[in-house]
């Protein structure tokens, strides 16, 4: 499994397809933290929708960067189970990196109003991770080999991502941001409990769709 994830991530890195969404994320975080005082939790919460959008793009770029023949060779070589799990794990790893980068930039640049406590950092990281994984799962449904048309893929994903806001779906960007904007880090895990449950259910459903359809559609 490690070799599969390593191959996929190496291919993604060398494709440079991560650059545009990566620049969007980094630039967006820098701009969001440009205006002090930047209260720790509320500013981190305001960045989660940006992370959600950037992670959708990063995920699309990841899944779409691999050509069909290359995907066929990989699937034949490693077998169905390792192929599906490897792709999902690699996408999850990208989400984890994006979640860490989103909090690492203001932390390293000392942009927070006060040095965040370990509890605050953990809460931010946790919420970032939920937002990024939710975006990953959503974007996987609009990526190859499920959807080949770039227009359908981008528009469909954008519409679905925007629809999560008025629908107030737990696990999506806005509710996760609101849960993080709790005033106190100790309250965050409790407020994120609903998001975790819905994220788990949604991710499992996406995993089933990918496992069933990836090789059937290819």
């Amino acid at each position: 499994m490690r070799a599969t994830v390593r191959y996929l991530l190496a291919e993604y890195l060398r494709s440079w397809r991560f650059v545009a969404p990566g620049v969007l994320l980094v630039a967006g975080v820098i701009v969001a933290y440009a205006q002090p005082p930047n209260p720790v939790l509320s500013t981190a919460a305001s960045v989660i929708p940006l992370l959600f959008a950037a992670q959708c793009w990063l995920t699309l770029a990841f899944f779409n960067s691999q050509g069909s023949p290359d995907r066929h060779v990989l699937a034949a070589t490693v077998g169905g189970r390792r192929f599906v799990l490897g792709r999902l794990l690699a996408a999850g790893a990208i989400a984890a990196i994006a979640a860490v980068v989103t909090v690492a930039i203001p932390f390293a640049g000392r942009r927070f109003a006060h040095p965040p406590t370990a509890g605050e950092l953990a809460a931010i990281l946790f919420a970032n991770l939920i937002g990024a994984l939710g975006a990953t799962a959503l974007a996987a449904l609009f990526a190859r080999p499920l959807i080949y048309s770039r227009v359908v893929s981008v528009l469909g994903l954008a519409v679905c991502a925007v629809l999560t806001v008025p629908l107030h779906l737990p696990g999506s960007a806005v509710p996760t941001a609101q849960a993080l904007d709790a005033g106190h880090a100790a309250h965050v895990p409790g407020r994120l409990a609903g998001d975790i449950m819905s994220l788990l259910v949604f991710t499992a459903a996406v995993g089933v769709v990918c496992a069933r359809e990836w090789r059937r559609r290819d």
């Binding site: 070799a3 034949a76 077998g79 059937r216 290819d218």
Partner: protein, 298 residues
């Protein structure tokens, strides 16, 4: 309790490659189409890939050869029906074209695939280097795949598929783009791999002077796969009554038991051979039959 059990069954079916009985891969009532309302590319296939065979897959452009090979390799699944693979089956698959090429140097790409096949680093590297030497791309291993010519990229793809000597090697149009020297080398490699016990399936839509001598030929047409008679000397040697075979310059000499000579002659003619001579052998009770491959026959 029924729902979780059903769900577990569905998940298990989706996430595992099933163990097959006997054959390496089995397609059961398999059919494939690429989109809803599209015509079926392949339909109602019941096919078993047995160990130790060299199978040539023939068919016109667009007949479904590549789709069939991808299904057998496990790169794609049937839209309907099932693909069943032997437990732990190692598959090497070489597509017709690896475009867009992955963004690696040829050597790095092969090193990744050696790792994916769980080969020790030294063994994978040595095997890749030996195959690259034989196919004439050893000097190109440091070059990015995207800068390689069609033929060189094809050779790297073939090396990738052969790495670690998987039990099932599937090569889609491996001779397209290869020069004569590399074609001969590939024939030799394929023969060695088959002799070592692996099954090799390769497709070719053109008649070529240089290609491995398959012991099975599958023709893909009208969405189905039909087995064709083969002009392989190895197949002739397995006919009942054949005592020995000798091949030279495209001619085959068979020594057969006299009582079986009529049956052997019928089989020869039916499988595309032209009988050039029949005579009594010096050993009593035996006949000698000379034959050549009939031009234009499959």
């Amino acid at each position: 309790m029924r729902l979780p059990a059903t769900l577990a069954g569905i998940l298990s079916e989706m996430l595992t490659d099933h163990a097959g009985d006997g054959g390496l891969v089995l397609l059961a009532a398999a059919a494939k189409r690429y989109a809803w309302r599209d015509p079926w590319v392949l339909k109602d296939l019941d096919l078993t890939v047995a160990p130790g065979h060299l199978v040539e897959v023939r068919g016109a452009n667009g007949s479904g050869k590549s789709t069939l090979l991808r299904m057998l390799a496990g790169a794609t699944l049937p839209t309907r029906g099932r693909r069943v693979a032997a437990a732990g089956l190692a598959v090497g698959y070489g597509p017709e074209r690896l475009i867009p090429a992955p963004p690696f140097a040829a050597g790095t790409y092969l090193a990744h695939y050696a790792r994916l096949r769980r080969l020790p680093e030294a063994m994978g590297g040595a095997h890749a280097a030996a195959l690259a030497e034989r196919l004439g791309v050893a000097s190109l291993l440091g070059e990015p795949l995207r800068t390689l010519s069609k033929g060189s990229l094809q050779k790297v793809v073939i090396i990738q598929a052969l790495l670690g000597e998987p039990a099932l090697v599937i090569l889609d149009e491996p001779f397209a783009g290869l020069d004569a020297e590399a074609s001969v080398a590939l024939c030799d490699v394929v023969s060695e791999v088959t002799a070592a016990g692996s099954t090799v399936l390769f497709s070719d839509h053109r008649e070529r002077d240089v290609r491995p001598r398959a012991d099975l030929v599958w023709r893909v047409s009208d969405g189905g796969v039909h087995e064709e008679p083969v002009r392989s000397v190895a197949v002739l040697a397995r006919l009942s009554g054949v005592i020995s075979t000798r091949e030279q310059d495209g001619r085959v000499e068979l020594i057969v038991a006299a009582r079986a000579s009529d049956a052997v002659l019928s089989s020869l003619i039916a499988s595309g051979w032209h009988v050039t001579g029949v005579a009594a052998d010096t050993t009593p009770g035996r006949m000698r039959i000379d034959a050549v491959a009939r031009v234009g026959a499959s």
